[in-house]
Amino acid sequence: MDLIYRPRLAQILEVKELTEREKLFTLRLEGGEVLGHQPGQFVEVSVFGVGECPISICSSPTRGPEFQMCVRAVGNVTNALHRLRPGDYVGIRGPYGRGFPLQESKGQDLLIAAGGLGIAPLRSFIHYIMDNRSDYGEVTILYGAREPKEILFKDEISLMQGIGRCLLTVDRGDETWEGHVGVITTLCPMVTVDPSRTIAITVGPPIMYRFILQEFFKMGIPEERIYVDLERHMKCGVGKCGHCQINGFYVCREGPVFKYSEIKDLPEAI
């Protein structure tokens, strides 16, 4: 029987500071094993002695056996992760959950809206699209951060622009910022989509969903073509511990990526 709580060991190959709060970790499973994830899935990361927490994978499975996680130092485990260096080991369980709709999106246009750290799981999908570019139609990426210094993966923006439109905004600008200022929804008037062939995917803080979803509806995108990625504390990752439950759903099993039509009647979802 599989020991479902036993992590595999993974070595940290590289740590890159992205902002004051986020670091990008590149890891490899011991023995060079492939993680075998889908974009949008998450892993349970152990810093032994501190604990375990769910982190989404921000690299694409098309890019070799290494994988990446963009981690914000916000809790016990993530703060401990931030103290680790290349060569250190962590535990990895998973990948778990249901990721982004890779198959359903094939041949469709994609409208991707990322708020803050939401760009992390979406980066996995965006890289996947880059590596399978002919499978997908037009791609529009909206990315909003609170401040210019909080923009993640700055050096990859031009790559993202290479696959389609990529519009950036910040809630508050600073003296260096020449781009758009305003919450992410203020980018929407600049976007035109064909709602019948567009899949919309959004990942961001809970408060953002209420507003960005309204924009998707205004564009005429049907509920069953809209996907959201929901955050909860997935403690066990295997549908048992109960912590990540949204009404009857376990985010760790049935999510974290849900079709809007599946969760729109769940009062606890958004």
């Binding site: 029987m1 599989d2 020991l3 479902i4 709580y5 036993r6 992590p7 060991l9 152990s46 032994f48 002695g49 501190v50 604990g51 375990e52 927490c53 916000v74 809790g75 016990n76 485990v77 993530t78 250190d88 080991y89 535990g91 809970p206 955050e231 909860r232 504390h233 403690k235 066990c236 295997v238 549908g239 048992k240 511990c241 109960g242 912590h243 439950q245 949204i246 009404n247 009857g248 009062p267 606890e268």
Partner: protein, 348 residues
């Protein structure tokens, strides 16, 4: 199913024989209450017991257990803890407790089986004991459909006076009976007494739920925004006693415990409760169920709707332990009836 007769005077020998090869867990009297505990001889047990404080789940889902051992520092290593459990006989489990095991099995053995649960479960023999009368005014097993059992045990005893009628529920049960007990075939009069016992049982339990249990998920769902939940949450102390004694609650928390030398440690699983404030909190402080009303409602919905729909069986077995231990007397059957009547009224 094959039926045997175990005379009451043969029960002590049966139990004492079992004790040679098994740890026997049975109902023990403790400070005026009953608990499931390890027995040293049959005389420790009181089979004519109403209900125990805690259910039997702790024998396969312990309140605290180690999942992993790890070493930190230069050379990190991790190994799972899978103990080969002692074979156990749970002796004298009532129908509600047998039903709750079915639910825990569904949670821990389906899809991604939990190895330590599975091992403990595999090494546990169930000897059930029928209830011929309600344990007290708090039980509502009949309403939850758990008054009768259809399998889920190795042996099942029914008191017919000077003997127990033993229903054999498994090959293991049959072998155990052959090996450890002095049984015989039932006489026609004993079969009649068993029938009479069943009839008496039927008469002794009354229905208290005012609607068909199959409608519970829908009735609950319709009550989502009812002010009644707020009213109930005003009473609720949020202490989590109900989840602690619940026979079908299985939520857990996991944490790392490190030895003082910081070189070694264990990953520990402990029972948790969705009624506690921290339960749905994520790192960064956001709490997805910040108010007591949301947490209390979640608990009721989890039993009466979410688990019910997931596993095809009501997530509550009606044992009444939650009510018995609730300091403010929140009683599920009253809650269910209240929301039902509220909906009847508003429909009229």
């Amino acid at each position: 199913m094959p039926l045997k007769i175990l005379p009451k005077e043969s029960v002590p020998l049966f139990v004492d024989n079992l004790l040679r090869d098994y740890e026997v867990i049975g109902p023990l009297r403790k400070d005026g209450f009953y608990v499931f505990g390890s027995v040293r001889s049959f005389s420790d047990m009181e089979l004519d017991y109403p209900i125990t404080i805690y259910p039997a789940k702790k024998f396969f889902l312990p309140p605290r257990e180690s999942l992993l051992r790890f070493k930190t520092g230069e050379k990190v290593s991790v190994e799972p803890v899978v103990e080969e459990p002692q074979p156990k006989v749970l002796f004298g489990l009532h129908p509600c407790d047998l039903h709750s095991t079915w639910l825990l099995d569904a949670a821990f053995l389906q899809e991604t089986p939990d190895a330590s649960y599975e091992a403990r479960r595999r090494h546990t023999v169930f000897v059930g004991l029928d209830c011929l009368k309600p344990c007290d005014e708090y039980a509502f097993c009949k309403d939850m459909g758990t008054l009768y059992v259809n399998g889920g045990y190795d042996l099942f005893l029914t008191d017919i006076g000077d003997a127990y009628a033993v229903d054999i529920g498994s090959k293991r049960g049959e072998e155990m009976l052959e090996r450890y007990a002095d049984t015989r075939e039932p006489t026609p009069s004993e079969l009649k007494r068993l029938e009479a016992a069943h009839k008496e049982k039927e008469e002794n339990f009354s229905n208290r739920l005012k609607f068909d249990i199959h409608n519970l998920p829908a009735i609950l769902w319709n009550s989502y925004d009812s002010p009644y939940w707020e009213e109930l949450a005003q009473k609720c102390l949020g202490c989590g006693s109900c989840t602690l004694v619940c026979s079908t609650c299985y939520c857990f928390d996991v944490f790392d415990k490190v030895e003082l030398n910081l070189q070694k440690g264990e990953r520990i699983r402990v029972w948790d409760s969705c009624l506690l404030e921290e339960f749905a909190k994520v790192a960064g402080g956001l709490n997805f169920r910040p108010s007591r009303v949301e947490r209390l409602r979640h608990r009721f919905f989890r039993k009466g709707k979410y688990l019910t729909e997931r596993f095809g069986k009501v997530g509550c077995v009606g044992c009444g332990r939650c009510t018995r231990n609730c300091l403010v007397h929140i009683n599920p059957i009253e809650v269910y009836n209240h929301i039902y009547e509220e909906q009847q009224k508003s429909a009229a």
